[in-house]
């Protein structure tokens, strides 16, 4: 099963290498990894999507937590979260197909962000399924290039992503 981990790390060179190294060394499967600075410039937040059974996920959690620069690891799978991914798609488009593509863009509430003579660059955000569906819908026109950011996720409501749930 896929798990989403929200990982708060020190914002320093080498940290990403350490995390990526951990995954490859111990044979865990990273599905996606998105990093950026957090609200605190000294810390970065990573959203890591990882595939594995409970034992593997527990190990991933513990091993990540053990890294000195990792401040906190939370498995937010199954919690009420907002999840988004951004994709840029370059799709073939000529005057004949352009209208149809624009319709699809509207349906998915995506945006055209660049227009060439024979192609369009479209940006779309959403959950994984929506992005997949969007890509499928464009497939017949001829996709030339896809760039996806990987998933970012945030716990809904007043509680912060890094706050533990209240226990009893």
């Amino acid at each position: 099963m896929k798990h989403t981990l929200s990982v708060l790390v020190e914002n320093r060179p080498g940290v990403l290498a350490r995390i990526a190294g951990l995954f490859s060394r111990r044979g865990y499967n990273i599905d996606s990894l998105a990093v950026g600075r957090s609200e605190n410039p000294a810390l970065a937040r990573m959203t890591i999507v990882v595939e594995g059974d409970d034992r593997v996920i527990q190990q991933v959690n513990n091993q990540l937590d053990k890294l000195i620069e990792v401040v906190q690891v939370r498995d937010i799978t199954g919690e009420p979260v907002v999840e988004r991914e951004l994709v840029l798609v370059k799709v073939k488009a000529d005057p004949a197909t352009r209208g149809e593509i624009i319709q699809i863009v509207d349906i998915f509430r995506a945006h055209i962000v660049d227009m060439g003579r024979n192609s369009l660059v479209i940006e779309c955000t959403g959950g994984e399924e929506k992005i997949n569906a969007f890509q499928d819908a464009l497939e017949p026109f001829g996709i030339r290039e896809v760039v996806r950011t990987g998933r970012v996720a945030m716990v809904r409501g007043a509680r912060d992503t890094d706050e533990e749930e209240e226990h009893g």
Binding site: E10, G14, A17, N62, D65, I68, V70
Partner: protein, 585 residues
């Protein structure tokens, strides 16, 4: 360069002084209480060696950087202090790698300093440049590349803190040459370290300890399985109280040798691939396994799926990531072993009923003892180890190499004190014994240090004989010379139909007696069983280095043996054990 500031105390009138980065490093080492470092110089660490020239810190010049890391490791294992080693950039740093990996696998606290090319040369494939932090990332607990001299002192203190707290391990600091050469105004070495992501859990969760107490008092066939974590937590006294109050027998991992005096009636010795039959049978039949500070190495457990099949498994460890990593665990307790054992002892009211279980184990102990044949005229390696044990009453500090010599030492040397059996457990590094003995002898100068060596292994770090000679370390090297890469030969005999591929090292020498003598070390060859004891007595009575070349039975094997991937109750070797396996298996 002005070096006048050296050794100046920081006072209120003189709150700061000018110092080079290297001087700051050495000063921080002194503040950490470091008395000895092991190292080998080179261009990129010249500033450090120059600062060392005036320092009280003693430097032991080894002959290869691997030796420096193993010596620092042996020093740490023998003393419980943090071991320190120095190496230059590039090849110096890469030569440390094996030693760092060795310390990492066995959770030994080390701080390694490596030189690095100057900042402006970094990343340009400069002369003697290697990506040392990148290379050592997976084999250190943590590492640092220091880019500003202002950060040096605090980094050193952080490194020592990380190395010795929580689950101990090696930490590396990579020092660009210009960072150590630069002179700055140094005010105060801030010793308060704050590492936001690092909070080793010391006190255990109360509920977890209560569950352990409950499980223990109900058990009928409990076994304690103790590892090196008991030694690093300095919790051997608490363990002994627990054992004596409850009557629960103890098996140990290789790293756990010495957690309990091995002549104690409840000590069953080592479990695992070359464990005693009674330790392996006890684990296979127990109903509660209390694992303390051990990581369930595959060499200890055999096949994970069939390990302790009838037992409720309790695992106590300082490292949360160890719980459930290799085997299923019913009760996991994260915490410092000393605190956990104290909590356990204060909560424990009812000792388990173990009389019948103890009788069962006594029966196994009698029926399947460790033993070997003793034909006339040949020296059995086990006999040599037994003699060493008898003569030292199990109170020497032993180091071993890797292979059969290591397993015979583990089986037949019954050690009576903690931190006195130093062996490369996790990595299985041939060549560990001699440099580790150097570190141990320097850390415990008044004591008898004996290196039980293999002829293949000794050649991997043989140049350290020079270090032994230079510092006149009274180490006794007992070479179990079988002319083979013995353990590999044993596997080829048992699992590859006697095809001895590339394991005969009897040709090509060297003559170890002459070799030792070439270094100025007294040596003697021993070829007959009746000479073994007198030779050992002679070596032990002289306060100087000594090498004994024991020419032992070439094709002797280590038994019992759980074949790789097998279950602990299916052991080869010794008819009776095999018969037991057939009956029950």
């Amino acid at each position: 360069m002005t070096l006048a500031a050296r050794n100046l105390p920081l006072t209120e009138e003189q709150p700061s002084f000018q110092a080079s980065g290297a001087e700051i490093v050495i000063r921080a080492l002194e503040e950490e209480g470091v008395d000895t470092v092991f190292g080998y110089p080179g261009g990129a660490v010249l500033p450090l060696y120059d600062a060392l020239y005036f320092s009280k810190v003693r430097h032991i010049l080894v002959r290869h950087e691997q030796g420096a890391a193993h010596a620092a490791d042996g020093y740490a294992r023998a003393t419980g202090k943090v071991g320190v080693c120095f190496a230059t950039s590039g090849p110096g740093a890469t030569n440390l790698v094996t030693g760092l990996a060795n310390a990492y696998m066995d959770s030994i606290p080390l701080v390694a300093f490596t030189g690095q090319v100057s900042l402006e040369l970094l990343g340009r494939d400069s002369f003697q440049e290697a990506d040392t932090t990148g290379i050592t990332m997976p084999i250190t607990k943590h590492n640092f590349l220091v880019k500003r001299p202002e950060d040096l002192a605090v980094t050193v203190h952080k490194a020592f803190y990380l190395a010795r707290t929580g689950r101990p391990g090696p930490v590396l600091i990579d020092l660009p040459k210009d960072v150590t050469a630069r002179v700055i105004t140094y005010s105060n070495s801030c010793r308060e370290v704050d590492i936001p992501g690092y909070h080793p859990r010391v006190t255990p969760e109360a509920g977890a300890v209560a569950r352990v107490v409950e499980a223990l008092s109900r058990a009928r066939r409990p076994v304690i399985y103790a590892g090196g974590g008991v030694l690093s937590a300095e919790a051997t006294a608490e363990l002994l109280v627990l054992v004596e109050r409850t009557g629960v027998p103890v098996v140990t991992s290789l790293m756990g040798k010495g957690v309990i005096p091995e002549d104690h009636p409840l000590a069953l010795g080592m479990l695992g691939m070359h464990g005693t039959a009674y330790a392996n049978l006890a684990v296979s039949e127990c109903d509660l396994l209390l694992a303390l500070g051990t990581r369930f190495s595959d060499r200890s457990t055999g096949r994970f799926e069939t390990f302790a099949p009838h037992a409720k498994v309790v695992h106590v460890d300082i490292d949360a990531a160890e719980i459930g990593k290799n085997v299923r665990v019913d009760i996991g307790v994260v915490g410092d072993l000393k605190s956990v054992l104290e909590a356990l002892l204060s909560d424990l009211e009812k000792a388990p009923e173990v009389q019948a279980w103890q009788r069962q184990i006594a029966h196994w102990r009698e029926a399947y003892p460790l033993r070997y044949e003793c034909p006339e005229g040949v020296i059995k390696p086990q006999f040599v180890v037994e003699q060493i044990c008898e003569l030292t009453r199990g109170e020497a500090v032993i180091t071993t190499d890797v292979g059969q010599n290591q397993m015979w030492a583990a089986q037949y040397y019954r050690c009576r004190r903690p931190r006195s059996f130093l062996s490369s457990g996790g990595l299985g590094t041939m060549g560990f014994g001699l440099p580790a003995a150097i570190g141990a002898q320097i850390g415990r100068p008044g004591e008898t240090v004996i290196d039980i060596a293999g002829d293949g292994s000794l050649q991997m770090t043989v140049q350290e004989l020079a270090t032994v000679a230079q510092y006149q370390l009274p180490i006794k090297i007992c070479l179990l010379n079988n002319g083979y890469l013995g353990m590999v030969r044993q596997w080829q005999e048992l699992f590859y139909e006697h095809r001895y591929s590339q394991v005969d090292i009897s040709q090509g020498g060297p003559d170890y007696v002459k070799l030792a003598e070439a270094y100025g070390i007294t040596a003697r060859r021993v070829t007959r069983p009746e000479e073994v004891r007198p030779a050992l007595e002679a070596a032990l009575s002289e306060p100087k280095p000594y090498l004994l070349d024991f020419v032992v039975d070439r094709e002797e094997n280590v038994f019992p043996m759980v074949p790789p991937g097998g279950s602990l109750d299916q052991m080869l070797g010794g008819k009776s054990v095999e018969a037991h396996a057939k009956r029950t298996g």
